[in-house]
Symmetry: C2
C-alpha cells in the first residue's frame, strides 16, 4: 500500500545536519496492520509524514499504491491526502472551532462525500465518544481529543491509515478498545494501517513490527507478542 525507497530526510547542512531518515527502505503491505517502534527522536513521525505526502524527502522515493508522490502537483498531492489517506497526528491537529463530530467528518465534507453514517456512529461508539460529539476540542480531555483524531482517520475508510502514537494519552482499557477495533478493521474490511507506538502491548496487535533507530530500519518482527 505504501513504500519508502532509499529515502533520506536531512535538516540543516554541514556539521549541524540532522539525518532524521537515513537511506530507508520500507514497505507497508495492503490489508495489513504494521507497527513502527523506536526511541524518541529516531525518525518515526518523519517517516510517517513523508509516507503520507505531508513532507518532502531529501533523497529517494515515496510510493502510495502505484503513485510516486514526486510525480504529483501540489493540487494532486492535496487530493491524494484528502481522499486516500487518513492521518492521526501525534499532536492531534483538531480544528478548535469545530465540534468533535464536525472534526471527524471534515475530510469527507471537504471531499464532498457523504459519510457512511452507520460506520461513523460505530467508530464514535467504539472509541467511547457518544456523549461528546457536540463538544469542541477545548472542552474535551486529552484522551478524548486523541479519540476524535483517531475517529477522523478511520471514519472515511481511506486506502491507508497512518496513526502516530494513537493511544499515548489513553488508559489501558480505552486504548485496548481502539487497538482491537483497528485490528478488526484490518481483518474484516481490509483496512491498511501503519501505526507508530512506544507501547510494546500496542505493537502486539499488529501483524508486523518495524524498528527504527537513528533514522534507519534496524530490525523487524512478524506476529509480535508483548
Amino acid at each position: 500500500a505504501a513504500a519508502a525507497v532509499g529515502v533520506s530526510k536531512i535538516y540543516g547542512h554541514g556539521d549541524t545536519a540532522v539525518h532524521a531518515l537515513d537511506e530507508i527502505d520500507a514497505s507497508f503491505q495492503s490489508g495489513r496492520f504494521t507497527a513502527i517502534m523506536g526511541p524518541s527522536g529516531s525518525g518515526k513521525s518523519t517517516l510517517m509524514h513523508c509516507l503520507a505526502g505531508l513532507d518532502t524527502v531529501s533523497h529517494g522515493s515515496i510510493l502510495v499504491g502505484d503513485t510516486d508522490l514526486s510525480t504529483l502537483s501540489e493540487r494532486e498531492l492535496t487530493l491524494l491526502r484528502r481522499d486516500r489517506i487518513g492521518f492521526v497526528f501525534q499532536s492531534f491537529n483538531l480544528v478548535p472551532t469545530l465540534t468533535a463530530m464536525e472534526n471527524i467528518t471534515l475530510p469527507m465534507d471537504l471531499a464532498g462525500r457523504t459519510p457512511d453514517q452507520a460506520w461513523v456512529d460505530e467508530v464514535i461508539n467504539t472509541v467511547g465518544l457518544d456523549d461528546r460529539t457536540s463538544h469542541r476540542p477545548n472542552e474535551l480531555s486529552g484522551g478524548q481529543q486523541q479519540r476524535v483524531a483517531v475517529s477522523r482517520a478511520l471514519a472515511s475508510q481511506p486506502e491507508i491509515v497512518f496513526a502516530d502514537e494513537p493511544t499515548g494519552n489513553l488508559d489501558s482499557t480505552t486504548g485496548a478498545e481502539i487497538l482491537e477495533f483497528m485490528r478488526r478493521a484490518v481483518r474484516e474490511m481490509d483496512q491498511t494501517i501503519v501505526m507508530v507506538t512506544h507501547d510494546p502491548n500496542a505493537a502486539s496487535y499488529a501483524d508486523r513490527v518495524v524498528f527504527l533507530n537513528d533514522g534507519k530500519i534496524v530490525d523487524e518482527m512478524f506476529e509480535p507478542t508483548p
Copy 2:
C-alpha cells in the same frame, strides 16, 4: 504541599452539566511522589489544573502550602504559579518562538531569578536533550517536546511539580530515565511531585497512587508495584 477540600468542578448547567470533579478531598504530601490514575475523561487534568491555580473550582477550596487560593488576587495567583509551582502540561504548551533552552529557563527569567546552571544542565542531560537545546519546538520530535516541558518544570526546583502524563510520548528507556530522575529529586532534594499517568509502570515509581473515576477519588494505594 497541596490539597483539595470538598472540591467540585462543573461545566455547563442543568441536564447537560458535566461534573468533571465531584466533591473531591485529596491531599498531596510534601517531599512525596504521588501518582494520579484513572480512565480518560475521569477528571485528572481538571484536578491538576485546579490544584495549580490554573482553573477555578465551582465549590470547595484549594490549598497550596498554607495558602487558600481563593484568597489570592489575580496578580498574587500569577506570582504563586510562577514562583512556587512547576507544571508539565498534557499538551506541553511550549513557546514556539523560543529555543528549547529558552523555554526551559522561561519561568526563572520571568521571575528575574538566576538559574542554577549546574542543575539545569543536569536536568537537560538526564532527559537526553543536550544536542537539542538551540532548536525550536517545531524542529523537535513529539517526545523531545515533552522532555522540554518536563525540564521546564524541574529546572526551577519549585515547591511543587505537577506533571500531567509526562512520559506518554516517550519510549520506555527514555521514560524510565525521567521517572528515575523524578524519584531521585523527591528522595534526595525533597522535591514534591504530583504526576498523572495512564501507565501502571510509571505509577510504580511513586510513593502513593490515587485513583479517580467520574470525578471522584475511588481508591488509593501505597508503595505501588506494577
